[in-house]
Amino acid sequence: MQKRLRMAGIEKRFPGVYALRGVNLEVNAGEVHGLLGENGAGKSTLMKILGGIYPQDKGEIFINDVDCTVMTPERAQALGVGFVHQELNLAEALNVAENIFMGRMPYKNKLLGIIDYQELYRSTQAILKKLGSKVKPTDIVGTLPTAQKQLLEIGRAISLDAKIVIFDEPTTSLGNDDVAALFKIINTLKQDGVAIIYISHRLKEIFEICDHATVLRDGQYIGTVDVKSVSQNTLITMMVGRDITELFPKEYGNIGEIILEIQELSDYAGRVKSVSFYAKRGEIVGFAGLVGSGRTEIVRMLFGADPISQGTIKVRGEKVTINTPKDAINQGICLLTEDRKGQGLSLIMSVAENINMPNMQDAILKHSKLKAIAEKFRVSLRIKTASVDTAVGNLSGGNQQKVVLAKWLNTASEVFIFDEPTKGIDVGAKAEIYQIMNQLVKENKTVIMISSELPELLGMADRIYVMCEGRLTGEILKQDATQGKIMAFATVGGHHVEPKAQ
Amino acid sequence: MKKKILVLLLIGIMMGVLTGCSGSDSKSTSNASGSDKKTLYFIPIVDTGAYWSPMKKAAEERAKELGYNLVFKTSPPSESQKNEKHIGFLQEAITSNAVGIAIAPMDPDMFDRKVKEAKDAGVSIVTFDADVKTKDNRAAYVGTDNKLAGEELGKKAAEYLKGKGIKNGKIALAAVNLTQTTMTYRQDGIRKGFEGVMGADAQSFSWLEPIQDNDQASESKRQLEGQITSNPDLIAVFSLGSEGPDTGVMEAIKSQGKAGKIYHFGFDYTPTWENGIKEGLITGIVDQDSYAIGKTIIDVMDKIIKKEKIQDNYPVAVKWVEANQIVEYGKDKQKQFTNETK
């Protein structure tokens, strides 16, 4: 078989971190090659280097044995590298043909920019036929269902006569039938001799469609395997493969009575389906699941940020109504959002103002009092900042997270909900955040923690709920929890007991 | 689905509005053709204020007496595409088979072509307030000659100053919009009349940059206050009509404590003047007899339709009213006001 792509010894540094260190990737023509690794393992960076979006610091790239070490987006396109993105980049107001050929329209008169629509629709029809799609070239993209839109991304790659097509988690938003259709198309491409790189967290799919798979971990090349000759466990070990206990300074609080009880909670969009759970005082409750499994939606409803369609919430044994964040705050519930910069903080406002935002009790403010409060938190949480008057935007990620924490510690909150508490935070600050969680449960408060980092959940949570496609599929106690069990619940809803990984 | 319903609903509403509008339009025209009355179009620049309101009243009354169906068309003062809109009214009159159109063209060139089209379509045109460029295309012009009116005001002002023994000084001027043709004519006329009376002494008067305020009294007030401050020898101000500059000039004189020291000559009667008579903020005005203009327009139209002989020009003289007579004059004048509005 012909070697379509060879990337060797790829190295990429971003300020302060190694994103990739000595990574190799070889893909044959007519092969589907899986690319595996945890979040942040370096898959996207590697693909961006292949697409010419980032230049690599070291390493070689060969396409069809031609040296392409210096790659640019234009060159990548010319060499037939096509991307099918997870997030769709389509102009919803334009029609199918215009989207597929955007920027490469056939012209009747190039100077005046008069488009040859006949030719455009004819070529589009040919591509759509290849894809087995029933949409018409003139359909407006905005009116199509998601699966069909995804097809257009593939169509765009085909129209470029792509020799290497990269699928970046193409199935996250597809139903089972659509996935089957997608695989059919991938197989067609494969038979045409296209080299396919397939990125997915769903191991089941890797075994179904891929011939070989390359595993990355923390920016390092772990190995390439023949999918038919390995077990899922081997792949998981390759992907995770590290000792995690020491990273997490778990301390135990006195688990007390139930403080929060949720029954049959559903949202309007159908992303949360009849979820029931509880949390006790002195407990860290973890929520695991794939991105988009409905974890964030649950806690946003619980916090009054989004409307609740159905369900009851009991706080300290009493049924409560939560319509706005204010209601939740009054019940002692607070939420530290995943998107700190977008939702948690006002970056252009000072540390002191952010800390005091949810708790300005006086109509006329005493600045000295507010500053003193902020100063207290700056010291106790060791927030590294020149002063409490500094704009929060100037702080590092870890210190910003501490400001968000201070904001809620400043209220009478008893239930602290963390959505991805350590996302984008360096190792040192992570440990400090974990220490604060320990402190909270020792004070008989409750922590609910959503995390996509399994080690973090395994290390810190007393009890882990697992979600899959809007439903609560499992509940695991700390002593019973393993990555395999969690992933089994998260990917297939616990129907198969054998371990499957992300 | 919800979205679609909403869109349909919106379309429905818009259709309703559109047909509603055109419905009312066609009503007025079908009225015209339905009855035996002949239709005349009357298109002034606006229909509000002390100048236009009596004119409208006169036209409506006279048309009723003579048995015409008068279609009245104009736009609000703040209309952004006024010229276009009024040219559109002309076209509308042609299409709806009016026998005659009376129009106040805002610009002599802009309306010239459309007026010719109307003439070619067999519709007689009477211009008022201002004229079009090609005078052959319209049957007659009714109204004050703005140059002559300006001249009259200039003369009276010069005589007044002479009577006070004033032989030199600076003169200011304020208008709504200096680019309007009528304003240019008035300005030219004022200078001509003033210089005519002053003779050799005219050299010792100097004219400041004219003020434009877009009918914002606060603007003309602000600018004139600046001019008064920087020109202690300012002795007279001309305001070229409309309540904005009228009020702005009076209030500027008042705030600078120059009442009775700066003489203010104005254009056209408005009740606004009464604010300043007692304190000496207005010296005198020339007034166009707009009621007479309105009546004459319809009379001329009537003559044209009855194929009687007409003149090319029906000048309506302006009247000089000194401050102490303004109140009395206004009482008669206000009887001619209409209370309607667009």
Binding site: S346, I348, I364 | G49, S218
Partner: protein, 326 residues
């Protein structure tokens, strides 16, 4: 704490170079340069009479600017401010002519301003509308209604007390009551923006609406409140304007909202919200007004005056661009 923007320098290593200094204080520099230049060109510029004129001309648009600045900080705009001023001012004259007592008249005008502010705010939060478009619509609407009611004709016969609202000299020769009202509004609103929960909520909502909402701030209620306060300030400006003009002029104050917005932005506020402060905006409006006053003193052609005023707005916002991106 007055202005988070000014705090940037303290956290990052402080680099003092002349360009930074210039950009930071550009508005003040422009103001000083203008004053010096005009006083050199015309000795009348600093005369008592002209200073008096200036202080009597500024309050109307100045009070509107204070309101608009508060709105910009909250991340919203109001193009209908001029119409609200004309509506409330004309209504006040009407009531005054009818013989109502001063407190009733002033209170009624402010209530009218609040009402229109409520309409603006309510529609914006209820239907999640863009404030620019909504207030463009209400601007036409409010102006149209008052023109319709008055038939476009000035309301006359203003009683003496109403005229004196703006035009009473206070002590010295160049300070009038409306100047004092303006000063009071500036001081009050500066205090409100810096020392009250309401004011800090404005900054919070303007700099990150979602973060503010998730901090338990009722942003809808807050935005309506801000519009109501801004509307009542516009109404107050309208009353002072009509008092100054001695009539009720329904067509007055056209474009005041835009002019005030330009002044606020020159003074450091931003369309994106969250930044800006009242003293800065006052400097902004002073800059623009001194410029216009100076040009009038010089007796420039009024078309050129308009063009040059537009030019200074353009220059000021370009300088602001550099200030933000240094």
């Amino acid at each position: 704490m007055l202005n988070p923007k000014l705090n940037d320098g303290s956290s990052i290593a402080r680099k003092i170079d002349s360009k930074d200094l210039f950009l930071k204080y550009s508005v003040y520099i422009v103001l000083v340069v203008l004053i010096i230049a005009f006083s050199l060109i015309s000795p009348l510029f600093l005369s008592q009479a002209n200073i008096g004129n200036f202080f009597r001309q500024v309050p109307t648009v100045g009070i509107a600017t204070v309101g608009i600045t508060m709105l910009l900080v909250t991340g919203r705009v109001d193009l209908s401010a001029g119409s609200i001023a004309a509506f409330a001012g004309t209504a006040a004259v009407f009531l005054a002519v009818k013989g109502f007592s001063p407190p009733v008249v002033i209170l009624a005008a402010i209530v009218i301003g609040m009402f229109w502010g409520f309409i603006n705010g309510f529609f914006i939060v209820r239907f999640k509308l863009d404030s620019f478009i909504l207030t463009l619509g209400t601007d036409y609407m409010i102006r149209g209604i008052i023109l319709f009611i008055t038939n476009g004709i000035y309301v006359k016969g203003v009683p003496d007390w109403f005229y004196l609202l703006s035009n009473t000299k206070v002590g010295v020769n160049f300070i009038f009551t409306n100047t004092l009202v303006f000063a009071a509004v500036v001081i009050a609103l500066t205090y409100v923006m810096n020392h009250t929960r309401f004011g800090r909520y404005c900054y919070a909502v303007g700099s990150n609406q979602e973060a503010a909402r998730l901090s338990g701030i009722n942003i809808q209620k807050h935005i309506i409140k801000v519009y109501m306060l801004e509307g009542s300030l516009a109404a107050l400006a309208g009353v002072l304007l009509m008092s100054n003009l001695n009539v009720g002029a329904p067509s007055e104050a056209a474009g005041v909202g835009l002019f005030a917005m330009a002044a606020a932005i020159i003074g450091g506020a931003a369309f994106s919200g969250g930044v800006g402060n009242i003293p800065g905006a006052v400097v902004g409006i002073f800059t623009l007004e001194i410029f216009r006053n100076g040009l009038a003193i010089l007796g420039l052609n009024s078309f050129i005056q308009q063009a040059v005023t537009g030019g200074i707005i353009v220059i000021a916002v370009v300088v602001d661009y550099y200030r933000r991106n240094r």
